[in-house]
Every structure is written in C-alpha cells, then in structure tokens.
C-alpha cells in the first residue's frame, strides 16, 4: 500500500476542543488527513467522532483550535463553506432527496451550472460521473426507490462532482449487506487512487481495518493514538478504544433448550415473503439471518402483528393463533424491539421512565385512571440499574442518551411487558463494541431465564456467536435452517446469497 509519509496533509486539525454545556465532547484533538489515503476514525459511541465530523463540515464551530487546509488556516461557518473548501460528508443514513431523480440529486448542491437547469446536459453529466465510478444506475430514476447502497453511490457521485478533496464517511456500511460493502470498498479504492482524502468511521472493526491506511482512536473526547494500519493489531485497537482488555469479543450463548413455544408453518405474505417454517423454543436464541432485502424484518413485523401475514399457521404456547395486531401479540406474550429506534421504537422527546412504561401503562394506573408516577419511576429505576443504562436519572429525555443506551431503554420497555417470546431486530446495529457485548450478555441472561428469543441480524459474526439455530432468508424465501454445529460462515453466506435450494425445517 502506498503511503504518503513525505506528502503534506491536505487537512490538519489542531487542538480542537468543543463542549456542549457541561459535556466536553472534544478535548484537544489533533488529526492530519493525507491525500489518497483512507484514515479510519475509531472510538466508542460518545468518543467524539460525530462532533469532530460536524466541526469539519461546518455544522458545529470549535470552541478552541484551528483547522488548516493546505497549511492555511480556514473557517468553516456552514455546510456551504465546507463544500467550497472541498469537504463533503456521507452519513449513516444517506441524505438523498426521495422526490428528485438520480441526476438531480447529484447536482442539487452545484452553484456553477448556470442560472437555468439544462436537463439534457445534466442527465449526460450524471451518467458520465456514474460511469467513471463504475456504478450502474438510471439517472432518471427517482431516488425514492433506490436501495440504501445505491443511494450512497449517488451521494458519492455527488461528492465527486463537487471536486471533493476530503470525504468524510460516517458509518457508511452499517445498513449495507456484505456484498454491498464490498462494492462500496471498491468505490472507496477508486476515490483513493484519484487522490481523495477519506476519513472513514465505522463500527465493524474488521471492515474498518480492512479498508484503512491509517488509524486514529478517540476515547471520551480525547485523542488516544494515531498509527499506520500496518503497525497496529486488532487487539491493540480494541484496547485503545475501551481502555481495558476485553476477554471475549462476543458472548457465547449457553442456555438449555426448553419447551416448544411457537410453531410457524407456511407463513406467507404476498409479494413480501413466502412459506416460512420454524419452531421457537424457550431458552433458545433463534437467529434470522440474511442480507439487505432478505425480508427478515418483515417476518418479525408479521409475528408481532404490525404487518400481519396473509397465509400460514402459527401455534403459540400450544394454541393455534392468528396475530392481527401488536396489542394482540403483546397479550399473547410476544414483544418486538425494532431496528429503527428513532422511527418506531422510542418517543425521543419523552423521559426514560415514560418510554419504559408506555406499553404497560395499564399497570400503573389508579382506580381513577391516573398514572401513579411514583411506581412508574421506581420500575424504570430498577431497569436502569439492572441493564446499567447510562443516564443521570430516569426523568431524562431519551433523545439525550447515546445510541447504545437508547437500545437498552427499548429492551427495558419490552422486558417490562414480561414477554414469553422476544423478537429483537438488529439490536446492536450502530452501537459500539462494549455496549454490544453488554447487549449480548443480556440476551443470554434472558434466554437462560426461559424466554424464547428471535434475533434478526445482518451481522454475521453476531449470528454465529449468538444463534442456537439460524434461519437464513433471501428475498423473502427461507433458504435454510441450521443448528449451531452446522452453522458456519460459509454455509450461511451461500444460503443468504442464494446458491442453494430452499431447505426444509431441520427438525431435531
């Protein structure tokens, strides 16, 4: 790998500090970014990565410190100024405009294309840029229907068209399937060869270390280390991140299989998924694995009654049931913790306590139907301690907690409903490694208490570590169901990518 030790950095951030109220988000952080290099920024949630990016892109102004571009100090007052300096960012959730088409999205931020939109030329130029990046997309297609990966490609094309010199990528892989990640990395390599400096933030460590040329680690808003990728090991990086040794990266599940809890036969929903068959047992973690578009989440939503299935049989706790609504699912003892915390999972502006008791509010009412707040707070406090939710009190708004802690609030909310079956949809997506380990331990503990757990995950190491059995889906079809012993990385991947026939339920 080509290293540019002799080349001057394109961007140099010196002694940057930034605080929000009492929280010191960044404390004297310095960082150099070199052209033609992928610089990985690693740290736990709350380490200051996001703040640093926001300072670079003009969303926040630093309290102290300076930013040099080509050795000259610059001020980045807003995102337009960042763009003028050749700095662009791509976020976890692509920021495209769904009502505009691909070409419009690429050129929406351009200010040098004349006073009048020349549609023909715009389509040609967009097609040229996409071709240069080796991306096959119809430039006239509205962004609404694009996959997340395609939306990201559009954003990268947009950045390129703006002659970007420093490209910040904030967790770009967290919503992508393995195949899409590979394509993205190819794209990143193309950019690197064109001399673009890339600041890459990711939470899947293997991925980050695969693509990075240089690694910088932040912890609690402070700079910890910077080194060439070739000079660090995974263990060192993890150690620097958490400041302590982690003996087991992923928790192992050891629960005993209990009674049959739920039995699903031929579950189908037109145009979404078809013929899903499995049994779920108490004390067991059943993983649903698949790439993006595998429709695992849709099965979860059907089991919880949000988007009911239209054919098939479900037997729950010995009785044949039809699940038509979340209320009914909750009454049966099925709870569902969603993938998208902000959209479906939590009432962001409300307190931790209110969120936890929301589905079970009936239990906290007086005879007159008023909420007994004392009991509510007491219950929430119990969960705060049990799951070690890092919040100053249960009266704090959920929106002020970090992603991992929000996830714990959501788990508390559903645990409080005393479910028999808990469906967890991507419970560790976008949260840092130590919190991830905590969540895995928690899942183990819950299974050991006799809960049945369905864990939907697109994170293969997580599936391998956590699943007692693994059901693999692809485009709405069940491709196989593997026991723990049989579930290898290769088998799951081949099934998920569709290289084998749909397999029948592997009965014990």
């Amino acid at each position: 790998m080509l290293m540019n030790a002799e080349k001057p950095p394109v961007m140099h951030m010196r002694h940057i500090s930034k605080s929000f109220g009492a929280t010191q988000a960044l404390d004297d952080v310095s960082l150099s970014i070199y052209p033609g290099e992928v610089h990985a920024l690693i740290g736990e949630n709350g380490a200051g990565k996001s703040t640093l990016i926001k300072v670079m892109t003009g969303i926040h102004q630093p309290d102290q410190g300076e930013i040099l571009l080509d050795g000259r100090p610059i001020q980045i007052r807003n995102s337009a100024a960042a763009q003028d300096h050749g700095i662009a960012a791509i976020y976890q959730e692509p920021m495209v405009f769904p009502d505009l088409n691909v070409a419009e999205n690429i050129f929406i931020s351009h200010r040098d294309r004349g006073a009048i939109v020349r549609w023909g030329r715009m389509y040609e130029d967009a097609a040229t840029i996409l071709a240069k990046l080796d991306v096959k997309l119809d430039v006239r297609m509205p962004a609404r229907g694009l996959t997340l990966a395609a939306q990201q490609a559009v954003e990268i094309a947009k950045a390129i068209s703006l002659k970007v010199r420093v490209l910040v990528m904030d967790e770009p892989t967290s919503s992508l399937s393995a195949h899409e990640v590979a394509q993205l990395f190819k794209l990143i390599s193309t950019l690197r060869n064109q001399g673009v400096a890339i600041l890459f933030i990711g939470h899947r460590l293997e991925e980050v270390l695969e693509i990075a040329d240089r690694v910088t680690i932040l912890r609690d808003g402070k700079w910890i280390s910077s080194a060439l990728r070739s000079q660090v090991t995974t263990e060192q990086v993890i150690q620097d991140m958490v400041g302590r040794q982690i003996e087991d990266f992923f928790a192992k599940s050891q629960a005993e299989r209990g009674d049959l809890l739920m039995s699903v036969r031929g579950l189908s929903k037109e145009n979404v998924f078809s013929d899903i068959n499995f049994d779920a047992y108490r004390g067991e973690v059943l993983c649903f694995a698949g790439l993006i578009g595998a429709r695992c989440t849709d099965v979860g939503l059907a089991l919880f009654g949000v988007e009911p299935a239209d054919a098939g049989h479900i037997t729950f706790a010995g009785k044949e049931v039809k699940i038509r609504s979340p209320e009914q699912a909750l009454d049966l003892g099925i709870a569902y913790a969603t993938e998208d915390r902000r959209q479906f999972g939590l009432a962001i502006p409300m307190s931790v306590a209110t969120n936890i008791t929301l589905p079970t509010l009936r239990r906290y009412l007086t005879a007159l139907g008023l909420v007994r707040q004392g009991d509510e707070y007491a219950m929430a406090e119990e969960y705060r301690q049990r799951l070690s939710i890092r919040a100053p009190s249960v009266k704090v708004e959920v929106g002020r907690l970090s992603g991992g802690n929000q996830q714990k609030v959501m788990l508390s909310k559903w645990l409080n409903a005393n479910p028999k079956l808990l469906i967890l949809d991507e419970p560790t997506r976008g949260i840092d490694v130590p919190t991830k380990v905590e969540v895995h331990h928690m899942i183990n503990a819950l299974a050991a208490q006799g809960l049945g757990i369905i864990l939907i995950s697109s994170d293969l190491p997580e599936v391998l570590a956590m699943g007692d059995r693994v059901l693999v889906m692809r485009e709405g079809r069940q491709m196989g169901l593997f026991d723990r012993k049989a579930a290898t990385q290769e088998k799951i991947m081949t099934a998920a990518m569709g290289h084998n026939r749909p397999a029948m339920e592997a009965q014990p």
Binding site: S79, P98, I108, I116, R144, G145, A150
Partner: protein, 344 residues
Amino acid sequence: MSALRRYFRPEQVRELVLVVLIVALALFFGTQIQDYYTGRTFLRISTSIAIIATVAVGETLVVLTRNLDISVGSMVGFTAYFVGTQLMRHNDIAPLVAVLMAIGIGAAMGLLNGISVAYGKVPSILVTLGTLAIYRTILVEYSGAKTVVANLLPQWVLDLSSMNVFSIGELDFRLLVGLALAVVVLFQLILTYLPYGRHLYAIGSNPDAARVAGFLSQRIVLVAFVLCGALCGLAGFMFLARFSNITVVAAQGMEMEVLAAVVVGGVSIFGGSGTMIGALLGAAMIGLIDQSLIRWLVISEFWRRALLGLLILLAVEGDAVIINRLRSLWVRSELQMAPKQESQ
C-alpha cells in the same frame, strides 16, 4: 400497462384523471342547471378560477417546502381593500403603480410569515393561523367600517374585468384569466428550469438532507413565503378588479378553496412533489364546483363549504392510498427494467 408506465409518471396520470373529472362535472352540471352552457357561465367560472389559481400557485411554492400558508385569504382581502381605498382617494394612480403596490403589500405580509417560519422556527401552520387573524384585524381597524365602492374607483379598474384577451366563439377569455395563466406558466417554468425550483422540491423532500446539502434552505423557504404573499397581493388586485365593491370580509375563507385546489391538484401536503399545472387543474375543479353549486338549487348554500372540506379529505386520502400504490408499482417495474446490480 408497462408501455403506459414508461411514458407517464404517476403524477401525470393523476392530472389526466383530473381533466376527465372536470369534463365529467361540467357535463353533469349541464344536465342539472338551466342555460348552463353560456358565455356568462364560462365568464363567471373562469374569472373565479383565475383568482383561486393565482393564489394556489403561491400556496404551491410554500407547500412544496413542507409548509402551509393559511393566511392567504387575509392577504388577498387586505390588498384588495387597501389598494381599492388608495385608488378611491387618488384616482390618478397609474395602473402599473397600483399593481406593483398590491404585489409589494402582499410580499411584505409574506415576508413576515416567512421570517417567523424560516428563522423563528415556528411551525408554519401556527404562524399563518396567527397572521390570518392579525392581517384581517388590521384590515378591519384600517377600514373604519367603510367599504370600497365601485363608483368612486377610477374607470380603468372597472373596465379591467371586462377586458378581453381573446374569444373562442361565445367564450371570452378575460385579461384576468390571461394574467392567471401567465402566472401559472411562469412559475411552472421556474419550478422546472431554475435551481431555485429544484431546491424547493429538495427541501420538502428531505429537510434534514437539505440542511447539510450546502444550499441556504432557510432563505429558500423565506422566499417561498414572500412569493406566496406577492401572488396573494396580485390576486387581491384581481379581486378588486372583479368585484369593485370590497368590504372588510373580502376573500374571507379563501384559504379553504386554495388549499382544496392545491391538494386536489396533486401537490403533496408532505412536500416535495406537485406541479403548477396540477394546481391550476385543482383550481379549475374547485372554481367549477363552487360557481356551479351557487346555481344548482338542489344543494343549499351552506353545503358548499362542507363539500370543499370533503374534497380536501378525499384528495389527501386518495393520494395516500392510490398514488403511493401506483408509485411503488412504478418503482418496482423500473427496478425490473434497470440492469441488475446485485447479480455478480
């Protein structure tokens, strides 16, 4: 079906359906109302449409950005009354000056709305609910309970409403109608060909992305409100020319007709999609229904507003169900036609 999908977008299908509905309505009223197909009926309906359409164009600019302006009725009424009073007092004001005055006053009121929404970060529905009441109250105070009367206005104002641009047989197209059509065409061109138009769609489509996309979204929203106010001012002038006698309740409740026109015309209330042509068709439908119901004796006067309300609900609900379904159908078929990315 797939050929249809290739050449028409869901929005265009919707506009086509609207045209068919308008024709069907005109045929229906023809069987119900005596002497319906006359030049007079056309005049009354087309002039009514002209005013609604002019305001609807302004409202569309605002709605595209995922905002709402419900103060339009008060802005139209205020300018109509104010300019009318000035013309009564100073009969020598030049026509162009009067029009510019109307546009300027409207723009100033729109500016106030826009500043509060774009920079004050107050939800637009609350800001304009406030100014709806405030502008109307200022008008009442200013009027001193007097009215603008036709015989004190300069003659050119009175002539304006009967000035013809062209005629097709018995059907006369008045200057006001021509003006409204020019406004629709001008703003449709702005939406399609100016970066400003694309930015309006972008902001309504994804406000969060607009914030980091490097264009000044606050200013763009502000300008949308100012333009909406300016068009209300122009419509206020048209209102004056059409009715000549203006009281303090002029154009009261117009926001209902305008919003109905906009949503029936397919401008998404969630921002990001819609066209001026659609808004014009919406205005045509509302104007047609409104003016025809006055003469349709089966339905009482009071039901007209209920019917407008029903139309708004139907349009929004219909959009939610039908357009979304069409859209996903379109997207799916386009995905199938696009080269397979995933195959490796």
